[in-house]
C-alpha cells in the first residue's frame, strides 16, 4: 500500500519543460533607422548582442515594416547598389544548445523576384566552399541554410512575393557529432510544414553543424542569419518583424501571435428565402 501511494505521488509530479527565449524583438521599442547607413546601425538593439542588425542603404526600422498594423518592423528597400547582405547574425544565443526554434514574420512586395526565377521556393543548403552561416532565404543562389554539404529545397512553391505577411517557424537540431545522422531542420510556412527535395532529409540529418571550421558541433549561433536579396532594381521591398530565437515551439508561436488562432470557418451560402405569408395577431 505504501509503495502504491509513493507511485501515485510520483505520477502527480509535473514534468517541467525548460523554456528559454534567447532573443526576441518586436522592434516596436527600437529607434527608427531612417537615414542611417553603415556602422552606425550596427549598434545592437536591445536585447541583441553581437552584430545586431546590419543597417545598410535601404534598411530601416520604422512603422512601415510593422506586422499587425502597429509598432515597428524592419523594412529593406532594395536598390541597385546593394550587395549581398543579411539581416542579422545574432550571437547572444547561448552556445552549445542542441535545439533551437526560430520564428519571424516576413512580407515581400508584390513582384519581388530574383531575375527569371519565379518558383520562389525556400531553400536550405550549403554555400559553395562552405560558409559558417546558416541562412534563411528563398532562392537557390542565396540559400536558406548552409548546413553540411547538401542543398535541399522546399517542394512547396511558397509564394513569397504576394505582398502579404507570412509566418515562418524553423526547428534546428544539431547532429550529436560528425557522421551522426540525428540532426533536424524543419520549417513551417504559415503553419504548413515544408517537405524537401534534395539529397538529404530534414530529419535524421547527418552532420547538421554550423561551425564547419571546428567540426563536430555548433559552437555559436552566430552562424544563423536571415538573408534576402531580390533581383536588383527598385520596387523590391522586404519586411521582417517579430523575430525570436527560443528553446521551445510554444514560445515561438506565442510570440508570433499564432497561439490559439485556429482558422475561421468558411461562410455559408444563403439561398432560397421565402415568405410564407402574414397573419393578424
Amino acid at each position: 500500500m505504501k509503495r502504491f501511494a509513493v507511485i501515485i505521488i510520483f505520477l502527480l509530479i509535473p514534468v517541467w519543460v525548460s523554456a528559454t527565449t534567447y532573443i526576441s524583438d518586436h522592434f516596436d521599442a527600437q529607434d527608427d533607422w531612417v537615414g542611417k547607413v553603415g556602422a552606425t546601425c550596427y549598434d545592437p538593439p536591445s536585447p541583441w548582442d553581437g552584430y545586431g542588425y546590419y543597417c545598410r542603404e535601404g534598411f530601416y526600422i520604422n512603422a512601415t515594416g510593422a506586422h499587425g498594423g502597429s509598432g515597428k518592423g524592419v523594412t529593406i528597400n532594395w536598390t541597385q547598389s546593394m550587395t549581398e547582405t543579411a539581416l542579422t547574425t545574432p550571437t547572444s544565443v547561448p552556445t552549445g544548445k542542441s535545439e533551437l526554434w526560430i520564428g519571424f514574420w516576413y512580407k515581400h512586395s508584390s513582384g519581388w523576384n530574383w531575375g527569371s526565377d519565379t518558383t520562389h521556393k525556400w531553400y536550405y543548403g550549403p554555400e559553395t566552399n562552405a560558409s559558417d552561416r546558416m541562412m534563411i532565404n528563398y532562392d537557390q543562389y542565396h540559400r536558406a541554410f548552409w548546413a553540411g554539404n547538401t542543398q535541399f529545397q522546399s517542394n512547396i512553391p511558397f509564394n513569397v512575393n504576394d505582398d502579404e505577411w507570412h509566418s515562418v517557424i524553423i526547428y534546428l537540431k544539431h547532429s550529436t557529432g560528425t557522421g551522426n545522422n540525428d540532426g533536424a531542420i524543419r520549417m513551417w510556412w504559415d503553419g504548413t510544414e515544408a517537405t524537401w527535395t534534395g539529397l538529404d532529409a530534414h530529419v535524421g540529418r547527418t552532420n547538421l553543424q554550423c561551425d564547419f571550421g571546428s567540426g563536430a558541433t555548433w559552437t555559436s549561433y552566430s552562424c544563423i542569419g536571415f538573408q534576402s536579396r531580390p533581383n536588383w532594381g527598385s520596387g523590391n521591398i522586404s519586411y521582417y518583424d517579430d523575430i525570436i530565437f527560443a528553446s521551445t515551439e510554444a514560445e515561438v508561436t506565442e510570440f508570433l501571435g499564432l497561439e490559439g488562432e485556429p482558422e475561421a470557418p468558411a461562410p455559408p451560402t444563403l439561398s432560397n428565402v421565402t415568405i410564407s405569408g402574414g397573419s393578424f395577431r
Binding site: 475561421a264 444563403l270 428565402v273 415568405i275 405569408g277
Partner: protein
C-alpha cells in the same frame, strides 16, 4: 368609518399588427476558410439583417449541410409599406472564430394595406 366609494376605470386600446413569416435555406461546406475540415464543431449558423447586422435566425450544425432550413422568423410590417430586407449568413465555430459574411439575398415583403385597421376596444370597469 366612512364608506369609501372607489371607482376605477381601466381603459385599454388593442392594436392589430401584421407580420410575415420568413424561411431561408442555406448550404455550409463544413470547412474552415482554407478549405480544411472545420476543427471546432459544432458551428453556429446565423442569418442577419444586413441593415443593422441583427441576428434573425440561429441554428447549430455539426457538419456540412445542404439546403438546410433555418428556423423561421417573423418580420413585422411597418406602416403597411413594402419591407425590403437584405440578408446574409455567418458561421461561428466552437472556438469563437467567425466566418466572413455570406452572399446576400434580398426579399421584399409586400405591404398589406388591403384591410381596414382593427377597431379600438375600450374596457371600462367600475367598482
Amino acid at each position: 368609518m366612512k364608506r369609501a366609494f372607489l371607482a376605477l376605470i381601466f381603459m385599454a386600446i388593442s392594436t392589430c399588427a401584421f407580420s410575415a413569416t420568413l424561411e431561408a435555406t442555406l448550404d455550409w461546406a463544413g470547412t474552415d476558410a482554407n478549405g480544411q475540415p472545420e476543427a471546432s464543431m459544432p458551428c453556429t449558423i446565423t442569418i442577419h439583417n444586413a441593415a443593422n447586422d441583427a441576428i434573425l435566425s440561429t441554428a447549430t450544425v455539426s457538419g456540412a449541410v445542404t439546403g438546410y432550413a433555418m428556423p423561421s422568423w417573423e418580420v413585422p410590417a411597418q406602416n403597411n409599406a413594402d419591407v425590403v430586407l437584405t440578408l446574409y449568413a455567418k458561421a461561428k465555430d466552437a472556438a469563437g472564430n467567425e466566418s466572413a459574411k455570406s452572399n446576400t439575398v434580398t426579399v421584399t415583403i409586400p405591404g398589406m394595406d388591403t384591410l381596414a385597421p382593427c377597431a379600438p376596444v375600450i374596457h371600462i370597469v367600475v367598482k
